[in-house]
C-alpha cells in the first residue's frame, strides 16, 4: 500500500485528507479543479518560502463548495451557512498571524452571507475570499441563487427567474478592497496564479471563479454534458486586461468578463488598527 501511494502520489496529496477520497462532488463538477489550483498556489508559495501552511485557516460555509473544508489537510472549519467570513475574521482577531482563506459558494457568500461580504470588503479586512460560482443552490437541489441568470429555470422559479442576478465581483469594486479578480474553470492556471498573488497581499482580496455544475445548473439550462458545458463556458468567459467598470459583463447569454478588476495596496484592517493606535505595531 505504501509503495502504491508513493508511486501515484499527486503533488497536492499532502494538502488533502486522503482518507476522505473519493469525495462527495458529482462527476463533471468544477469545484475539484478550483480547489486543486488553490492548493497548488499554496504549495508553490510554500516552496518559495512565502507562506507557512500551519498559519493558514481554511474556512468554508454550507453548500457544495463548503464541503471542501472536510477534504483539505490544513486547519479547517466547515461552519454555518453564510458565516464563513465572520468566523474567519474572529479567528484572525484572536490570532493576527493566521492567514484566513474563505472558500465557499455563491449562495453562501453572495446570498445568505452577502452582508458579511459587504462589510468585510468595506473594512479591507485581511482575508482572502474565493467564491465558487455555479449559478445555483446545487447541494439543495437547484433552487434560485442571487447569481442565477435572468429567465433561467430553477426549482423555485419554475416559470423562469424574474430577477436580474448580482455581479458579485463587480459590486465589490465600489469598496476599499485591495484585490478583485474573476476567472472560470476554463482558466486553471490563472486561478492558481491569482490565488498565489492574492495570498501575498494584505487587506481584502476576492476571487470569483465561475464553475460548471452539469448535474444541476447544466440540467436547468439544457446542457447536461460536462464537456459541452465546459466548452460553452469557455466561449462566454472572456478575459480582459484591466477592464473598466462598464466593460465588465455578467451575462450567461453573451459574456462573463474575467480578469483582474482591482489591484491596489491600501492599508488593511490590521494596519489601520495600528494607525489609530488600538493595537501596538509589530
Amino acid at each position: 500500500m505504501v509503495e502504491l501511494k508513493t508511486k501515484y502520489m499527486h503533488p497536492i496529496d499532502d494538502l488533502l485528507r486522503l482518507d476522505r477520497v473519493p469525495y462527495t462532488w458529482c462527476p463533471g463538477c468544477g469545484i475539484g479543479m478550483i480547489l486543486h489550483h488553490t492548493l497548488r498556489a499554496i504549495k508553490e508559495l510554500e516552496a518559495e518560502g512565502k507562506i507557512d501552511r500551519n498559519k493558514i485557516l481554511f474556512v468554508t460555509g454550507i453548500g457544495c463548495t463548503g464541503r471542501a473544508a472536510g477534504l483539505v489537510n490544513l486547519d479547517t472549519a466547515h461552519v454555518l451557512h453564510g458565516r464563513a467570513i465572520p468566523f474567519a475574521i474572529g479567528a484572525k482577531l484572536a490570532n493576527p498571524s493566521l492567514i484566513p482563506i474563505v472558500f465557499s459558494g455563491d449562495g453562501d457568500i453572495a446570498g445568505i452571507g452577502g452582508n458579511h461580504l459587504l462589510h468585510a470588503a468595506r473594512r479591507n479586512m485581511d482575508i482572502l475570499v474565493i467564491m465558487v460560482n455555479n449559478f445555483t443552490y446545487a447541494l439543495t437541489g437547484g433552487q434560485l441563487a442571487p447569481t442565477t441568470p435572468y429567465k433561467v429555470y430553477s426549482t423555485t422559479t419554475p416559470y423562469g427567474n424574474p430577477e436580474p442576478p448580482i455581479d458579485t465581483a463587480k459590486s465589490l469594486m465600489a469598496l476599499d478592497v485591495n484585490y478583485v479578480a474573476r476567472w472560470s474553470v476554463t482558466h486553471l492556471t490563472k486561478i492558481k496564479d491569482s490565488v498565489k498573488y492574492a495570498l501575498t497581499k494584505r487587506g481584502f482580496r476576492f476571487i470569483e471563479v465561475i464553475s460548471i455544475c452539469p448535474e444541476i445548473f447544466g440540467r436547468h439550462i439544457g446542457i447536461r454534458n460536462p464537456y459541452q458545458l465546459y466548452i460553452t463556458l469557455r466561449k462566454i468567459a472572456k478575459i480582459k486586461s484591466k477592464p473598466s467598470f462598464d466593460d465588465i459583463k455578467y451575462d450567461w447569454n453573451s459574456e462573463i468578463t474575467c480578469g483582474v478588476f482591482v489591484d491596489r495596496d491600501n492599508p488593511g484592517y490590521f494596519d489601520r488598527l495600528k494607525e489609530v493606535g488600538v493595537i501596538k505595531s509589530g
Binding site: L74, A77, H78, V79, R83, I85, I89, K92, L93, V278
Partner: protein, 384 residues
C-alpha cells in the same frame, strides 16, 4: 483588589477582563451597549481587541472563530440580538467553542420597549437553538454578582467548552453600586485545557474520558484541525450513523450534567421556617426580597429562593426547601418561564403537597415591593 462604583454592565466587563478576555465582538443594542463601550475603551489596554460586527449573527460566528483560535471571547446583547445569535450558539455547541454571552433582557416580543426591563430570555437561553444540547446560564442580581458570575461564566465556558450565558436585565444592567473588583491572583481563573498530543495523533473532538471534554488545540499551531458544524466523529469527519451521532449529542448533554456541582449556584433568604416561598431572579428578586422583609415584619413566614444558575438549576438546594414549604410563588417579568422549571423539578421529585402559583408580571417597569404585593392581592390568592 479595588473597590469601584460600577453599573452591572461595567462590573460584568471588569469580570471579563479579570477572567482573561482577549476578544470582544459586539453589535450595539440597548441596554447592553455601555458594556461594549466600556470595553472598547479599556480592553485594548489589557492587550485585548474589541470589534464591532455588522450584526449579531456576525458577532456570534466571529466569536466562535476567535475562541477556537485561542482567545477568551465574549459578546453582550439583548433580546432581539440574542434571538439572532441562536443559530451561532448551536455552532458553538457543535464546535465546542468556549465563549460568554451577556444578554441584558428587555421587554418583548420583537423590538418591544428597548429601554425597559423584561425577563423573557430564560427559555430562549436554554432552548433557542435547534437540536439536543446543554449549556449554562447565570442570572446575577447585583453589580457585584455581575462581576463574580462573569468570571464564573468564563471559567465554566473554558472548563466545559460550551457557550455560557449571563442573563441580566435592563434595570440590573444599569444599577450602579459598590463592586469589589478582584485581580486574577485573587480569583479562580480557569485556563484552556490544551492537548498534550502531537499533531497527527490529536483529534479535535476526542473527549477526555474523565470529564468528557476534548482537550483543545488552536488554529495556527500545526495541528491541522477540522472543525465541523455537521454531526462528526472524533476527527471532525461528517458521519450520519447513529453510532456517531448519538454519543456526540449525549456527550453535549452529559458534560454539563457531570460537572453540575461546579456549575450550580443559588441564594436563599428566610427559608428555614418559611411557609410561602417566593422564587425570582435578577432585579425582580431584589424587589421580591424587600417584599419578603416587609411581610416578615408583619409576622408572615415567607422566604425567597433565588436561583443564580438557571440552567442547570440548583435542584438539590431547591428541593430541600420545597419539601418544607406549603406554597411557592414564582414572580417573573414574562408570561411564566421560570415556573416551567419549578414545576418540572417538583414533578420529577414527586413533591405534590405544595401549591404552585405563577406570578407573571407583564409590566414595562420593575414593580416595587408594594406593587408585587398588589399583584398578589388583585389575583385574590390566599397565600397567608
Amino acid at each position: 483588589m479595588r473597590v469601584e462604583f460600577l453599573s452591572s454592565n461595567e462590573a460584568s466587563a471588569e469580570g471579563a477582563i479579570a477572567a482573561g478576555l482577549k476578544v470582544y465582538i459586539g453589535y450595539p443594542i440597548t441596554p447592553s451597549s455601555d458594556l461594549f463601550e466600556y470595553l472598547a475603551e479599556k480592553l485594548p489596554k489589557y492587550g485585548g481587541i474589541v470589534y464591532q460586527a455588522e450584526d449579531e449573527i456576525a458577532s456570534i460566528n466571529a466569536l466562535v472563530g476567535a475562541a477556537l483560535a485561542g482567545a477568551k471571547a465574549m459578546t453582550a446583547t439583548s433580546g432581539p440580538g440574542f434571538s439572532l445569535m441562536q443559530e451561532g450558539i448551536g455552532l458553538a455547541i457543535m464546535l465546542e467553542a468556549p465563549l460568554v454571552i451577556v444578554s441584558d433582557m428587555r421587554t418583548g416580543p420583537s423590538t418591544g420597549i428597548a429601554t425597559q426591563i423584561g425577563q423573557g430570555d430564560i427559555m430562549q437561553a436554554r432552548w433557542g437553538s435547534h437540536g439536543p444540547y446543554n449549556l449554562v446560564a447565570y442570572a446575577p442580581a447585583s453589580a457585584q454578582e455581575a462581576f463574580d458570575y462573569t468570571v464564573k461564566a468564563f471559567n465554566t465556558a473554558v472548563k466545559l467548552r460550551i457557550p455560557v450565558i449571563v442573563l441580566m436585565d435592563a434595570i440590573l444592567a444599569h444599577t450602579r453600586e459598590k463592586v469589589i473588583v478582584r485581580e486574577p491572583g485573587e480569583i479562580e481563573v480557569v485556563d484552556f485545557k490544551k492537548t498534550k498530543k502531537p499533531p497527527g495523533e490529536y483529534k479535535p473532538y476526542e473527549p477526555d474520558p474523565e470529564d468528557l471534554i476534548p482537550p483543545m488545540a488552536f488554529f495556527g499551531e500545526g495541528y491541522k484541525i477540522l472543525h465541523e458544524s455537521l454531526a462528526h466523529d472524533e476527527r471532525g469527519y461528517y458521519k450520519t450513523s447513529p453510532e456517531v451521532y448519538r454519543p456526540l449529542v449525549e456527550r453535549f448533554i452529559e458534560k454539563v450534567e457531570r460537572n453540575k456541582s461546579y456549575v450550580v449556584a443559588s441564594k436563599e433568604y428566610y427559608t428555614e421556617d418559611a411557609e410561602v416561598l417566593f422564587i425570582a431572579i435578577g432585579s425582580v428578586a431584589r424587589s421580591t426580597l424587600a417584599l419578603v422583609r416587609d411581610l416578615r415584619r408583619s409576622g408572615i413566614k415567607v422566604g425567597l429562593f433565588r436561583p443564580i444558575s438557571i440552567w442547570p438549576f440548583d435542584e438539590d438546594k431547591f428541593i430541600n426547601i420545597a419539601r418544607r414549604v406549603k406554597k411557592i410563588v414564582v414572580a417573573e417579568m414574562n408570561q411564566g418561564q421560570l415556573i416551567w422549571i419549578i414545576k418540572k423539578i417538583l414533578w420529577d421529585n414527586r413533591i405534590f403537597n405544595v401549591e404552585v402559583y405563577s406570578l407573571p408580571l407583564l409590566l414595562p417597569d420593575l414593580p416595587s415591593p408594594d406593587e408585587i404585593y398588589d399583584e398578589i392581592k388583585n389575583r385574590g390568592w390566599k397565600l397567608w
